[in-house]
Subunit: 335 residues, 2 copies
């Protein structure tokens, strides 16, 4: 395997350690290589903490001057929560930088690269670009489309029922599938459900795994008072809003710097996203059940009226959990 590819894959691996903690920042990993040896590693641990490149420099076991820095994303050039990485990199004596993509954030987007080149550092951009974009798919969508990355998740029988006509939904999928579904939350800055789902199921909406930060819980609805004793109000990490429509909602979330949202239900809330056609990613869990029922719960809303215009998943992948199946796909194409 090509050395650049090998070291960049190492940065991806490091970057993922920051999952759930870096939002609205991207996942960033960095390794510093001298004469073919890694002399320093780092990753962005948490929003507000030092960036991955800087941590890698600090962790160097040898003088980094003359070394190559590998990083999945273009080093930043602006003062944000920390001072610009490019300055520290220039001071370190790093000679060359290999990174997979430019930073889509307009405040950086190529400016970091220019400053580094101006300082005489060689910078190569583009290796494993697609993988690097996937690693931070929400971050890229947020900055390129100017709205949060929207994923929907649902668990259904083969006939699409998410709950029976009497509201029973415990449990359609098996435990392994449910745990996997819960862990998916770590990939999102926010989880969104309609207020009726909270009233019906009193869900926790947390990850319940050590070392992962719970996303913001967003409840669509107006009656905050009726949620008094519900689990979603267990701490301040909750947002109850009543937007006019999906576009309004996404504008509010953008304003709050929320780069990604996982919509989990119920049927009408999911349906309103389908109607808007703003869905970047779908997680569809299926158990091999037939439930039936004209009044059972499926994805609702008006629905799409013409099959040819339905949301068609691309770049599909599957995961099996015993006899349960997860289908993952991208209605709008991969980032």
């Amino acid at each position: 395997m090509d050395n650049d590819v090998r070291f960049l894959r190492e940065t991806f691996k490091l970057a993922k350690k920051g999952l759930s903690w870096t939002n609205p920042n991207p996942l960033v990993g960095a390794v510093i290589v001298k004469e073919g040896r890694i002399i320093g590693k780092g990753f962005h641990r948490k929003v507000g903490s030092v960036h991955g490149e800087i941590e890698a420099l600090r962790n160097c076991k040898e003088d980094p001057s003359g070394a190559t820095l590998y990083v999945n994303l273009e080093p930043c050039s602006c003062f944000g929560r920390t001072s610009p990485c490019v300055n520290t990199i220039i001071q370190s004596g790093i000679k060359k930088i290999v990174c997979s993509t430019l930073d889509p954030n307009q405040k950086v987007n190529g400016k970091g690269k220019k400053l580094l080149e101006k300082a005489g550092i060689q910078i190569v951009v583009g290796t494993l670009k697609k993988e690097a974009r996937l690693l931070n798919e929400a971050f890229f969508t947020f900055h390129e489309k100017g709205r949060p990355f929207v994923a929907i998740k649902f668990a259904a029988s083969l006939d699409g029922k998410m709950a029976t006509a009497t509201g029973d939904s415990k449990w359609i999928t098996n435990e392994k599938a449910r745990i996997y579904g819960r862990n998916l939350r770590a990939n999102y800055q926010a989880i969104l459900v309609g207020i009726n789902t909270v009233l019906a199921d009193n869900p926790n909406l947390g990850i319940r795994t050590k070392n992962k930060k719970d996303p913001v819980r967003i409840i669509l609805g107006s009656k905050r008072h009726i949620l008094k004793n519900f689990q979603v109000l267990r701490d301040q990490n909750v947002l109850i809003i009543n937007p006019k429509n999906i576009h309004d909602l996404l504008a509010i979330l953008r304003e709050k710097n929320i780069i990604s949202v996982l919509v989990e239900g119920g049927g009408e809330t999911l349906g309103s996203f389908v109607d808007s056609k703003i869905i970047d990613k779908v997680y569809a869990f299926h158990a091999p059940l037939i439930i039936g029922g004209k009044k059972a719960i499926t994805i609702g809303g008006d629905g799409i009226h013409i099959i040819q215009k339905a949301l068609r998943l691309k770049n599909i992948s599957h995961k099996k959990f015993g006899d349960n199946l997860l289908t993952i796909g991208y209605p709008l194409g991969i980032v």
Copy 2:
């Protein structure tokens, strides 16, 4: 591989050549083996035609006396459309018979075996029994449960929609999946749909493949006259009935010696079968679409109210058609 297994698998292969033609008879294939060589092969071609064992005897290139007859099902002992096979077998000089299962038909069920033994022929029953039962799953169900084998087939989006809120259903699945779905009809003696499906879609309900016999088309409903110009009435191979309920329907079909039925829609007809819980096999085709819509068509009826009591598919298998997926399973367990 064991010789018995090898020769029995050959009988299964031969038997399948009669698919769609033998109903209400079973698929039967036979090979006659002398000193390790196959000297004759045959299968049951069509209801009313000679049975597989007899065809194999007739096709023998050498004298079958002293040979072994392999057959998937116990040779018949009764006068039906043809005279009993056992007589012809005894006269042929066959010394030994290896068959996979007894015939579940009460008119035979062990009687053939007894007559053969009485005539001094050794008969070994049971090798590849499970496979032999699967080969004739409808026939075994009909005789063991006293009702037709009921399969349902549907094509849906990931959210279970078989048609949009405005009734559009052309096409949810891709062409390969649809052709496969059409060919499945050859496995059933009858195809059943509700009259509303006929009125909405004017389906052909045929196999449209050479060398396969179209199943009986059963339409549930009372208004025969309104179907005058519809494709389902293109010939006499159609049955329009208006039973009180599923049990009534199955009694009528049993009376008519229909051993299997494939229920294809619409939502309410499929739902009434789900409600009855009399479903032996499910073919669920899924395309990677999200359609949504509270008023879109899914499997209806009352539905099952408690998840724990939903129809759970067992013995699941999958087939892929590009990005479409077929899930096959047995809610009541495999025959």
